[in-house]
Every structure is written in C-alpha cells, then in structure tokens.
C-alpha cells in the first residue's frame, strides 16, 4: 500500500467509529428522554469524553496527512470532507449530551399527550434514521443512500416549526409545567440542529464521493 493510503485508511476507520459512536449516543438520548432514564443519561454524559477524544484523533490524522503527504485529487477531497464531517459529528454528539443533561434537569415526567402532540418520538426517530443512513452509506461507499437523508431533514424542520405553538398552548393550560416544557422545547430544537449537521455530512460526503463515482463510470 502507498503510504498515503495507510493514512487515508486510518482516517476512514476512525470516522466510521465516530459515526457509530455518535449514532449510539443519539439513540441512547432518545431512550433516556422518552423513558426519563437518568441512569442512561449519566452514561451518555460519561461517553461524551470518548466522542471528544475521537474527534481530536481524527483531526490529528487529517492534519498529519495534509502536512506530510500534500494530498491531491480524491485524497484531497477525502481529507477536506472528513475534517468537516468530523466536526459535524462532534456537534451531534454534543446535542445528545445536552439532551441527556435535560433529562437530569426535568422535574416531572412530561405528559404523554404533550410528547405525542409535539411529535417528540417521531423527531428522535427521524434524527436517528438520518445517522443510520449516514452509517450505511459511508460503510458501503454509496452516496445515493446519503441523498435520501434530505427529505428527512425537511420533516424535522416542520416538526420544529410547529413545536412552539403546541408547547405554548400546553403551558398556558398547565402553567406549573413551564420549567419542564422549556426542556422539551430545547430538545426539539437540538434535534432540528442534528438534522442540519446530518445534512452537512451528506453534502460533504457527496462532494468527496460523487466526482469519483462519475469518473469511475467512464
């Protein structure tokens, strides 16, 4: 193997690990939030340090590759897009941790009808499905799969737009829940941001991958 290929492989493996890790964090944040599972929330917060250190590792690998190998063409697009994807993944990891933190701050379990009206579970599931698509597309080097993710982001945005009205009405009727409802509000907002970052990841992956795919078709 060419020396730069060894480095590219290292970055590739580490990013794959990062995707799986962040996906797991987000999925655990759903379980923790939906079931008010504080034990799980603590685990998420604990695991966040691994996400951060993996982000640093990937950055280091990318910097090393740029400094030592001056990548060009596909290698260059790969390293540039992995640097960006890495930071988007790290942000998604942050949001999972924030949600875990909210779980610890919420005083009383939120009422199921409110959760349903806000479409909380659906919101979580869409965000997680986006990460599943990323993981699958990335592992199989298939940018077509990445493109499926854009439609999901639209639904996330829609749910996010509607949440304030639904929550406001609920709070007017149940003023004592305002503290907990603000956390629900923030959670939906975070998940909407997860969608934005997932979309960035897809775009950056396509930037790296599509030119290559087109070229290899010839």
């Amino acid at each position: 193997m060419n020396p730069i290929e060894v480095e590219i492989e290292k970055i590739n493996d580490a990013v794959l690990e990062m995707i799986e890790l962040v996906k797991a964090q987000l999925s655990r944040s759903r379980d923790s939030f939906m079931n008010s599972d504080e034990e799980l929330a603590h685990q998420i917060i604990h695991t966040e340090t691994r996400v951060n250190s993996l982000e640093l590792t990937i950055d280091k690998y990318c910097e090393n590759t740029i400094a030592r190998f001056s990548p060009v063409a596909t290698d260059l697009r790969f390293v540039v897009s992995m640097l960006k994807i890495n930071s988007d993944l790290e942000r998604i990891g942050d949001y999972a941790e924030s949600i875990a933190d909210y779980v610890l701050n919420i005083n009383h379990k939120l009422e199921k009808t409110l959760m349903d009206n806000v479409r909380t579970d659906e919101m979580f599931n869409l965000a997680i499905e986006m990460l599943e698509l990323i993981a699958d597309a990335y592992a199989t080097d298939n940018s077509k799969k990445m493109k499926k993710l854009f439609a999901k982001d639209k639904v996330l945005n829609q749910i996010n737009k509607e949440k304030s009205q639904v929550i406001a009405e609920y709070v007017l009727a149940n003023p004592s829940t305002i503290h907990d409802c603000l956390y629900l509000h923030s959670t939906i907002k975070k998940l909407e941001r997860v969608g934005d970052h997932a979309k960035n990841i897809a775009e950056n992956y396509i930037f790296y991958s599509d030119a290559k795919v087109l070229k290899h078709k010839k």
């Binding site: 060419n2 730069i4 001056s70 990548p71 060009v72 063409a73 596909t74 290698d75 260059l76 697009r77 030119a211 070229k215 290899h216 010839k218």
Partner: protein, 259 residues
C-alpha cells in the same frame, strides 16, 4: 470621432494538431492547446512524455536538432511561427526561454544581462544600464547585486544565477517566457523567490513552466496540462486538476500512484 477599443487577443498561443518526431520516433501525438495571455501554464507528466519537446516547439528550439520534424501549426498572436517569413531570431526575442540549469556566460553580471541587447547592436551605455537595472529589478535580483555588477556571474549562487538568467531573458522584452524546470536545482528559498517572481511576471508576460514538482505546479500556475506518452491527457484550471481531475491517469499521476 470613433472611439476605438483595442482588440485583445483571446489566445496568446495556439497549438493546432501538433505531431513531432525525432527521426521515426513519434513523440508528440496530435496536441491542441490554447493559452491565454498573462497566464501561467504548468506542463506536468512523467519523464520522457514530451514536455520539453512541446515547450521547445514554441520558440523553434527544436529546429537545431538533427532528424527533428513536426506537423501542425503553432500560432503566436494568431500568426504561424513556422511560416516561411518568420525570422527565428526575432521569434526567440519574443519568446524567451529559461533552462533547468542556470547557464550564465562566464562574464560579468552586467554583460550577462545586456548580452541580448548588444547582439541587437545597442551600445548606448545609458540604455544598457537602464535595461540592466530594470531587468534585474524585475527578476528580483537588483538589491543583491547592484553594488557589484562587474562581478563574474559565476560567483553568484545557483538561485541568483537562475534569476540572472531570467533577467537576461527579460532584458530583450519578450512577451512569452518558457521555463523548463527552472527551480529543480534550487533550494526552497531560491525556489520560493522564483515562484514569487513568476507570479509577478505574469502581469506582463505569458509564462509556461515545465515542472516535476506537483506542489510547484499547483502553486504557480493558472492552468495545468498533463502530458502522457506524447499526448495531452488533461488540460484545465489548476484548481480543478488538483482537486477534481477528470481523467483517472491524471489522478494517478498527481497523487503519486502511477504504474
């Protein structure tokens, strides 16, 4: 009165279906290329692919080589440089060349820079002095040698000698400068100076540089031409070639995965 706008040439140099041979050895195989004025074009490709041969076609340096033949035309400012009425000396004045190894004459710095002018019969001392200073300044060498123009050119460092050769080329006021691996024998500091110089010179000149240094090609050029076995495989904006080459051969070559 009619306000006349100067027609600017779209292309400074145009190569049209060039084939070249050393004896029966077919080394350039049907190359077309358009080069815009005031641009830097890098020629890259593996050893023996024909970069130097193609470069030398642009100022007819191959004419000297026994057994060399070519078909196709090269236009400079829309005029065929191989037309029978072209004076080769005049062409070489218009299209200057800088070689891989600095090749100053074993004479003083001043005599080196003014050599081309003297050949043209210019002897007026102040004209010569003026040109020497202008060319040495353009070649970013003036500050280093201005107090010692009588010193032998051979006493200069390799990097200084190369800039002297560039000054010598500039002195006769060409419009095109061909450079065949001009920095391959230089240290990084001298190389940086030459690259900086190329960047400044393109305001006035059209420059073509042959280089084996991929980073140099990507740093200095606006467009890059990738040659392989006598063919022009890919020619495009340098950023496109280095970020997103269209041909797999180009990709493999620039990323060092050839063969």
């Amino acid at each position: 009165m009619v306000n006349r706008v100067m027609e600017t040439n779209k292309f400074k140099i145009q190569a049209k279906d060039i084939h070249a041979y050393y004896g029966t050895h077919h080394v350039i195989k049907g190359i077309d290329m358009d080069i815009k004025p005031n641009s830097v074009t890098a020629f890259i490709g593996p050893s023996g692919c024909g970069k130097s041969t193609f470069l030398r076609l642009i100022n007819r340096m191959n004419d000297y080589i026994e057994g060399f033949t070519k078909t196709g035309d090269i236009l400079l400012d829309d005029k065929n440089i191989y037309a029978s009425n072209v004076q080769v000396e005049q062409l070489r004045k218009e299209v200057g060349m800088v070689f891989q190894k600095p090749n100053p004459f074993p004479k003083s710095i001043f005599e080196n820079v003014t050599y081309g002018l003297k050949i043209q019969g210019i002897t007026n001392k102040s004209d010569l002095e003026e040109t020497a200073e202008r060319s040495l300044r353009q070649a970013a060498l003036w500050e280093e040698v201005k107090d010692d123009l009588k010193k032998s050119a051979l006493a200069l460092s390799g990097g200084q000698q190369q800039r002297l050769c560039i000054a010598r080329t500039l002195a006769v006021e060409p419009s095109v400068i061909l450079m065949d691996e001009p920095a391959s024998a230089l240290d990084p500091i001298s190389t940086a100076k030459i690259e900086e110089l190329i960047f400044e010179l393109k305001e006035k000149y059209t420059i073509i540089i042959v280089t084996h240094n991929m980073q140099q090609a990507s740093r200095v050029s606006d467009r890059t031409a990738f040659f392989y076995m006598g063919e022009l495989i890919e020619y495009g904006k340098t950023k496109q070639i280095f970020l997103n080459p269209k041909k797999e051969k180009t990709e493999n070559y620039i990323s060092g995965r050839f063969g």
